[in-house]
Symmetry: C2
Subunit: 313 residues, 2 copies
Amino acid sequence: MLARILPRLDPGDSALLGAGDDAAVVAAPDGRYVVTTDLMVHGPDFRLAWSRPHDLGWKAAATNLTDVAAMGARPTALVVSIAAPPTTRVDLLEGIADGLRDALVALAPGAGVVGGDLSASSVLMIAVTAFGDLEGRAPVLRSGARPGDVLAHAGARGDAARGLALLFAQARDGSGEPDAALADDVRARHPHLVGAQLAPEPPVAAGVLAATAGATAMLDVSDGLARDARRLAEASGVGLAFRRDALGDDPMTALAGAEDHGLLAAFPPGTVPPRPFEVIGVVDGHAGRLTLDGEPVDTSGWDPYTGWDGGAG
Amino acid sequence: MLARILPRLDPGDSALLGAGDDAAVVAAPDGRYVVTTDLMVHGPDFRLAWSRPHDLGWKAAATNLTDVAAMGARPTALVVSIAAPPTTRVDLLEGIADGLRDALVALAPGAGVVGGDLSASSVLMIAVTAFGDLEGRAPVLRSGARPGDVLAHAGARGDAARGLALLFAQARDGSGEPDAALADDVRARHPHLVGAQLAPEPPVAAGVLAATAGATAMLDVSDGLARDARRLAEASGVGLAFRRDALGDDPMTALAGAEDHGLLAAFPPGTVPPRPFEVIGVVDGHAGRLTLDGEPVDTSGWDPYTGWDGGAG
């Protein structure tokens, strides 16, 4: 089965030795490498009735690449472990491999897959570990924002949550279970929003742009802009003041919606953040406080998966 | 839950930035790093009735560290992703963390855990990605053995399979299911063999010793000495001639038994392999052929898990 999958994957420009031995060897030109890992499990993280195999590979790559980008690093390589039921068709695994490959080409050209593992499991699971090159720069941490900094964001704001809401509302059968034909129909009518949920296109290249523009802090927005902003605020000991007019027609979804995998960054006062970053507010001195046009933002009770049976489907 | 686990883990000497941001940063002093990844899934790879949580963390670390060692590299760091049922007790996860930590201290001092992820799943699963430092040396591949080389092995030969056979024979209940009390009893009577299966102690430090002694080829012996030897023979285009007197009282189990995680290496003619390596034969020119005292070795039909229901237990 690995023989069908590995030829679909390119080891990339940083692989000194790709898959096939006990381990791979990857270049780290500046003597350091960035590493992050993320799991996707059938049920809590995706449904096969909604996500095509290509979507799964794409999203597994995209989410990990964004974590690398959020350090200000250029993604170089992935390793991928897949646990799948013994009855899994090889074309599902091939679809996952094609999704990984296409996401790398689109989001991180030059990065590749340098290794992996395949195991039997009753539950389909994809574990990706991603690597990046800081190219001599310091990593951009969550903790470096200072009062007066410009607060900027790159990527979608709420679209992945809007897509998930559409799937919940319109792609479940009479008993509430995810339905593939209904999902295809919703996706045909709302390709942008459903695509943002199932196969997001995060602004991976913007990570390096932010770092070279002097970003003082940055993080990947995976749990919603407000929740992740709070992490940056707490790590930096600052407050964050959002501007409502920067958040579009539906600022609450922009703040609360998860899984967009955008980048939130702070830049020194007076910086014009590089595109695709857009200014959405300012850093202030009220440690740990988030505001929207001066009003407190409370996201403590927000959970889009409440009532969702992660074990079924 | 992560707050209970992370303090139990040391990021190690190579971590420039440990867990807590979007990604970690690890040192790669010679501008390269070795990377390998391996999954352990409840059912096919372990049973909770037999393995204690500490065993699981230990084995997940040990198997990955051996893959790093098999390249001739010094292990530096791990990232660990765990998928566990929502009902999992935190002390099980703490036990896994303690096993990871203790295996690192025992097998790869200075290496640490620099990151991880925790997800919900109906099946317990541990995915480890391990990193290593080649310290300026070339990686030791499977493909470098040459006729006349000394064939040597470090580590257990068959003990893990003997331990698994004891568990199969004596630690299953009346309906054939793994039983924790019976496993404790077997382990008390056969601590070495059952320990070799559940918490192996592979010769991780021997990887660097082999590389510095000039090993021409090396690999991790995880699927049985004969099966993995065949991989080395095919990659190198050579034959391997084992000596029966070097394989102990039970040479067939020594050749066929899986999961010992020893190291098989070839050294230039005349080399005295460094301890704990022991000479077990010689490399010859019969491409792809394995022999034992001149007789062909056939392991094509050997599978210790035949008839084993990987989905239950």
